[in-house]
């Protein structure tokens, strides 16, 4: 079941990339999806099947808009810091804690943190994330967690957990 789903996803991506329904393209796509699925099927994340559910899709949709809002905000933030003559930066690496358990949710969290204002995920050890922050506003770990992680954690919890 899991491998079949993986095969279907690969085939759909292949069809979108070639954008043709000629039988030769179809045969090549099926063969390549089958080979890729046999070689790499083990690393396919199991939790992704749970996302195919209307409620989770709704939260994924909400998450997408929140995410784009923060990406655009992050770009203006970088532009402000870079183009300012005095470069108002105060960088450092902070340690925050996450409640998320599944691999998929953690991957999304780390990638979202990298693309949002002023933060870059450096490493993850156990439940703790090490974040490079370009402008540290507080030295209290609780408050840092509140600012960096919470804005995505609640949504991601509803999508993947």
């Amino acid at each position: 079941m899991k491998r079949f789903l993986y095969f279907l996803i690969l085939l759909v991506i292949w069809l979108l990339l070639t954008w043709s329904l000629h039988w030769q393209d179809l045969v090549v796509g099926v063969v390549i999806a089958l080979i890729a699925q046999l070689l790499l099927g083990d690393i396919f994340p199991v939790g992704v099947v749970r996302v195919f559910n209307p409620v989770r899709f709704f939260w994924l949709f909400t998450y997408t808009w929140v995410f784009f809002f923060y990406v655009i905000k992050a770009n203006f933030d970088v532009a402000y810091r870079v183009l300012n003559l005095y470069m108002p930066i105060k960088p450092g690496i902070v340690k925050v804690r996450t409640k998320l358990q599944t691999d998929m949710a953690r991957t999304f969290l780390a990638n979202s943190i990298t693309l949002t204002p002023g933060t870059l995920s450096v490493d993850m050890v156990g439940d703790h994330l090490y974040i490079h922050w370009i402008n540290i506003v507080s030295e209290d770990p609780e408050k840092e967690t509140e600012i960096i992680v919470r804005r995505f954690e609640k949504l991601l919890e509803r999508i993947f957990e």
Binding site: L17, V71, A79, V94, K95, N111, T114, D123
Partner: protein, 114 residues
């Protein structure tokens, strides 16, 4: 109409890419530079690809551009994380003006288990 949207997006995209490149030159150390490089170049490149979609419409080229946006959004933060982690583990110090480095503090005792 869609051509006008294409022009708007390509101008926004190039502006953000330019800001990212200025940041790459101006900011002091590798971690700060990665911040500028990932955020601005990701959005800038996505905007340029989106403008390609608006110029050509929904055909083989346009769909490839949309797929590329997806790939860039996934791979760009992941590679930035890999570079930052590799830089820190190979001993590159933070900029002298940095406030704190919890990662280095925590790593001192647990070098072999990390």
């Amino acid at each position: 109409m869609s051509e006008a949207a294409g022009w708007v997006f390509i101008i926004i995209g190039i502006t953000f890419d330019l800001v990212g490149c200025i940041g790459l030159v101006r900011l002091p150390d590798i971690y700060n530079r990665l911040q500028a490089a990932t955020k601005c170049v990701t959005l800038g490149t996505c905007m340029i690809l989106l403008s390609v979609f608006f110029f050509v419409g929904l055909n083989s080229v346009g769909v490839k551009a949309l797929l590329c946006i997806w790939f860039v959004l996934i791979t760009s933060p992941t590679s930035a994380h890999a570079i930052a982690r590799a830089a820190h583990r190979s001993g590159i110090r933070l900029w002298v003006g940095s406030v704190m480095d919890k990662y280095a503090d925590d790593k001192e005792g647990t070098e072999d288990t990390a």
